[in-house]
Symmetry: C2
Subunit: 475 residues, 2 copies
């Protein structure tokens, strides 16, 4: 009755297709570059009070749009017994509306291709990055509001018949967004159905996209989170040493392949991992209280932006944006500007012949359910550089001091360019030195890719940093 196997094989085949199909990786890189240089942009920071259509709410000091739509910047107080800081206050983005991140997939010459968009966002490094076919809000999709309808909307709102391949609710950055989630979708249109490709769109295989993720700031965060949710299934007895998959894969990659496809061999079974998560959710509490933005302690409005008093974490700034060629769009908006470059890294290690990822259970203020599964090291705030005890980061030395041959993946990746101003974080996958201990602290746990892929399916288990890294794993 089920056709799971077929679907998963299609994704799998596409992941192995790295060479030239409709296009090729060098051509796609060229194409993005040409899109970027053809685009006229002027994006400059301005004092918050000079924004048009945005204002400080009189009662609270929150930054709100005059229409009451889009998003707002509000304040929260966080109280928790997790970590070394038990109480703090901070600005946070409140965007109640769920976003749709959707990619159209279609077989071309028998191989699934994904329709990617060259998209410019005001916060982007490199200006143009590869985005999903559509990035829209719920009200865009249901046409509640008048206004320009996004291209290809009809493939995602039920108007055109498609096969839904992926449809998951996934979290955004818990340190920056209050309980925000997006709907991550991949829909497949029939091979025979003509699908005209507009100027700013291009077909790519999954293998090509994974190659492109190895480049700095080419594939945007929205694409990476959608790709991380692709199910490859489990192939008992098929994975690993032989078969067509293994033939295509290098030595490193073959390890990942087995870790992805083998549901049987792992250090801890799924029930034990769920028990570990339950124990931590029971042990720690997270209490988040809304505060008027103007009342939060430790932050000051200074020189047109809201900054932490020690210059740490991030600032809330205004930007003035002018984008376009023939049609020029102009607007202003608040954005989050990070104070340093962060790092997110998985340490991996073969255990019993299968690659395991060292996963951290991490509490973040905006989390939907207290804790999410995060990379081994995740510091978005650059605190790891200070070396102060308050922010001692476990395993940071193993990441920063990794020998070159142990670095399986390292690239700078942007956060979502619609909210974050030129924020890039170092993404890394590091193979642990042979002596690296299997015993780890309480809030860490070794898992295979197969297990991580299972958790991704269910809401709010893997955080966006972990998903961004998993999207980069190629085989």
């Amino acid at each position: 009755m089920s056709t799971t196997r077929q679907i998963e094989n299609d994704f799998f085949k596409s992941a192995l297709a790295k060479g030239a199909t409709v296009s090729s990786v060098p051509l796609i890189l060229e194409w993005i570059k040409s899109k970027s240089s053809a685009m006229k942009t002027r994006i400059e920071p301005i004092p918050l009070e000079r924004m048009r259509s945005w204002r400080f709410d009189e009662a609270s000091g929150d930054i709100v749009h005059e229409s009451g739509r889009f998003f707002s910047i509000e304040g929260i107080r966080v109280e928790t017994d997790w970590g070394l800081v038990s109480r703090w206050e901070q600005p946070i983005i409140n965007q109640p509306e769920i976003g749709y991140l959707g990619i159209i997939a279609k077989k071309i010459d028998g191989i699934l291709h994904f329709l990617m968009q060259a998209k410019i966002e005001p916060g982007n490094i490199n200006r143009v990055q590869l985005a999903p076919t559509i990035q829209a809000t719920k009200s865009n999709c249901t046409r509640v509001h008048q206004g320009k309808v996004p291209l290809f909307l009809e493939y995602f709102n039920g108007e055109r018949p498609v096969t839904i391949r992926v449809n998951q609710l996934q979290s955004e950055q818990g340190a920056r967004f209050l309980r925000k989630r997006n709907c991550n979708m991949i829909v497949e249109v029939p091979e025979k159905e003509p699908l005209p490709v507009p100027d700013d769109f291009i077909w790519a295989t999954l293998g090509q996209l994974k190659e492109l993720i190895r480049h700095d700031n080419v594939v945007n965060m929205d694409t990476r989170t959608v790709l991380s949710g692709i199910p490859f299934g489990s192939y008992v007895g098929h994975a690993g040493e032989s078969g067509p998959a293994a033939e295509h894969a290098g030595d490193h990659d073959r390890h990942f392949l087995r870790s992805l496809l083998d549901p049987e061999n792992h250090l801890h079974d799924l029930d034990r991992i769920i028990s570990w998560i339950t124990g931590l959710k029971m042990r720690y509490h997270l209490r988040v209280t809304r505060l008027p933005l103007r009342e939060i302690k430790g932050w000051e409005y200074n020189g047109g932006s809201i900054r932490h008093q020690d210059g740490k974490y991030f600032s809330v700034i205004g930007v003035d944006v002018e984008i376009g060629n023939r049609e020029v769009q102009q607007w202003t908006q608040p954005m989050i500007q990070p104070m340093q470059e962060g790092i997110m890294a998985f340490i991996v290690k073969p255990i019993g012949g299968v690659y395991h990822f060292l996963v951290q259970a991490k509490l973040e203020a905006g989390n939907f359910d207290v804790l999410e599964l995060a990379p081994t090291v995740q510091c978005l705030t650059g605190n790891y550089r200070t070396g102060k005890n308050e922010y001692a980061v476990p395993f940071i030395d193993a990441v920063l001091g990794a020998k070159k041959e142990r670095i399986g993946y390292s690239a700078l990746q942007s956060e979502e360019g619609g909210r974050f101003y030129q924020e890039q974080n170092r993404n890394m996958i590091i193979e642990a030195e042979p002596g690296f201990p299997i015993a780890v602290p309480d809030n860490y746990c070794w898992m295979t890719l197969n297990q991580l892929s299972t958790f991704i399916k269910f809401n709010n288990y893997l955080n966006i940093a972990a998903r961004s890294l998993i999207a980069a794993v190629s085989f």
Copy 2:
């Protein structure tokens, strides 16, 4: 590396052990009856204002304990586009502290037995019901508060070495509790470890417990929810027609066995079901706002209790409790009294040779994440009797009009007796007539037991009514 198979076989073996082991089903029933008649109790409804240690908060009218502990009765306003009523107000129980529901398991003569407690609760029908080894709050377990420590606490708080078999966060009644969750645990102690069994405790196999659930109001709700989370695993190619499991099972039960153990055959695969849930979570919104209890519309304080103006749904009453033999405990507390008996029923149907359960995605006000998976029919409020259009209940006729030979399970089961006053609901599993359509409305979906068991593992997918029914499935 993993010993999942072994663990699951232990549970499985215990589920097949229905005959006399340490005890037997008739003996356990006798024992409960004797416990019940030996217990002196006086439990009577009193006007809310005559409760001791509880008071109406001056500002809000909320019902609170003078210590600020335990729970409170507050008001909420619910706004949603799900169902036919788009806005209502109601009282709700707010109990921020997570409860522990824990059962000790131990092999006796090679078969896992569960240590059950004969427990009296003020709301219980039959006075004494079979409860988990321990029902405690987080502060009991961490000994934050002084006071009597629950028996066997040391097996659940890490003081004694045990093997954790089940440890899941599970939701309570979403129509009555505000986002309340309990930690459901099963811990195993080594076969050789002596474990003295106090007077009010008894060992039972899983098979015996499932037999006992077929009796009215014998196994309490806390036990049923813990048992529903037991993992039996998947046995590709093993399930169904032959093998030791099938030998022990009747014709009906063998179908359930295959539905439980076969991960390969189903109408919709897991990714498709998740996509269906995601779609519904995106489509519907749920907005819950706290209100002072005295301000909620449609409810009135009348004759010592808080009642709906039409006498519907439930009332908030006070009870005066006196329980005990040698040591007599006396207290008063608010409770929820239902206005009618409700019904919760799964319709099942063999599809492609495998039993499928017709699952409803149901929005309830107190849900943690908008929707949870519920039985085909779930009306706790007796509205199905009125036949009014406002509360038209899909599939109610197929349940109420089921022929006797199609009723696989039917028993009256109590809600949690610590909060709900003599609330019992008819629990049923009905085999659909052969012509019952496979096509179902948008918010219904056919799933196998194997799929339901997978969803149970992850937080907040199956609601407590669905779990109560799944605990009753025997094989």
